[in-house]
Amino acid sequence: MRTTTKRARASLAILLALFLAGGVAACGSSDDDGTETGGEGGGAIVSNPDNGKVTLTIGSKNFPEQEILGEVYAQALEAAGYKVKKALNLGSETVALAALKSNQISGYPEYASTALTSFFGLEPEEVPADAQGAYEKAKAEFEKEGMTAFPPTPFASANAVGTLKKTAEAEGLETISDLQGKSENLSLDGSPECRQRIDCLAGLEKYYGLKFKSFTPVDIGLRYTVLEKGQADLSILFTTDAQLSAEKDKFVILEDDKHVFPAGNVIFVTKPSVAQKAGSDYEKTIVEVQKGLTLPVMQELDARVELEKQSPAKAAAAYLKEAGYTG
């Protein structure tokens, strides 16, 4: 009886916290929590008064990492003197691409691997493993369709099979191939679209020959909770996930020994006409500002937004400041 009251009280507290979360996050605590996001970034961005005549609309897809990237680019371009509008909640890559094609946005960050597999029909194994190769191939494909792309970020993001450390130890799992013969008794969760994607569950089935006990589609934000609650033994994670750096001793990633999950560095996709109108500061600012975005920095920024509930705008501003791009 006492425990039920306690639990009821706890859930009430959670509910209250949830309602308040929005407001509290807006006020926030101090920027400086001791963790550095500043890389070896270049010098401060200089505002060019000529850019004030140009309005750019920066897009992004609607999950935290994309919104952070969108904010980083938008705020950097603003610092360079451009008038900047933001459209940071485009539902999927299909929507984002359509928005760019129809000139509703000037450009948006896209993973080179996603562009190649999703837009241009490459099989995962055809995606070049090196960032530059993948970028050049994607750029060439974009150019065929009247678009272009700027050089890639230092960090790359990929899907990955993750699990709790204790599960990995109990089942003796280090690589995805280790799942052979065991996967029939293991359940998997992941984003709803993962089920049919070749760079996700469909690829695990096809190239590793794995069959899982079940696949539970869940919202991206719920994957770690589902894993922790033991509702799934394995989960499709992203290598840049905040939890992977923040809780290293809890979650592990199985090595993708057959390279089914191509890693994607982010390239900024735009149109030549936009780039021409915006002048040389457009590409220069974007390429310069992403130099500090290494894997640890991106994970840290993701952590600030996903775990500490900072707004993407605030996390991006902190990055720009700590890396010396803005004063």
């Binding site: 959670i14 597999t117 679209e193 049919q196 994607r197 070749i198 589609p217 719920l222 509702q231």
Partner: protein, 240 residues
Amino acid sequence: MSGALATLLTPGSIGGALEFMFEPQSSNVTGGKEVGGPSQVVELTLNQLELTFLALGLALLLALPLGLYFGHRGVGETLAVGLGNVGRAVPELALIALMVAVIGVGVLNMTIALAILGIPPILTNAFVGIHQIDRAPVDAARGMGMSEAAILFRVEMPLAVPTLMAGVRGATIAIVATATIAPLAGVLTLGDFIINRNVYGENGLLAGGILVALLALALEFALAGIQRLITSKGLKLSTA
């Protein structure tokens, strides 16, 4: 004419959506596996219906007795109407996320989340429906010596059928439409077509929307039919 036909058959058009429902389509991201088509449409529709009925059943079980009792006794207006109104403001996705920590993802989570959506209209309408009927027949029934239960079930409920059913119908539409988000919490419904635009494309998105709308209409018509069946003859004549 041919221009209009062409527009109708471009991706993301009604024609494309119909094609998606009846013929499996190729997809950019599946590595050659086809998606959509009748078998998947039927499977997801049945899932959506099952979830809808489970949630509606739970909502009825919880809200109807409470609403009827309060309405009959004429007490608890604040609770019945207030709870109803507050219930409408509960954000579904937040609720689902909250419950994941306690009961995990899956049918149970979604059933409870959707039932919470269905409770407010049923509860409020049951209370208001019973509470606001003409007091004369109720007094007459009491004068004749009918028990309180008999008054509720044989006098008040038949008179309140239109209001009661309006609540049930509203709840049903809200539940069947919202069951679309279930793929975010472990249950594959027609929302799969809508949420996974990268997999199913514009045609799948539109097909999903059309199917959910058709399902909602079908349920609405079915409930309207049921309402006609359970409305007593005398009342039907008076409104005709």
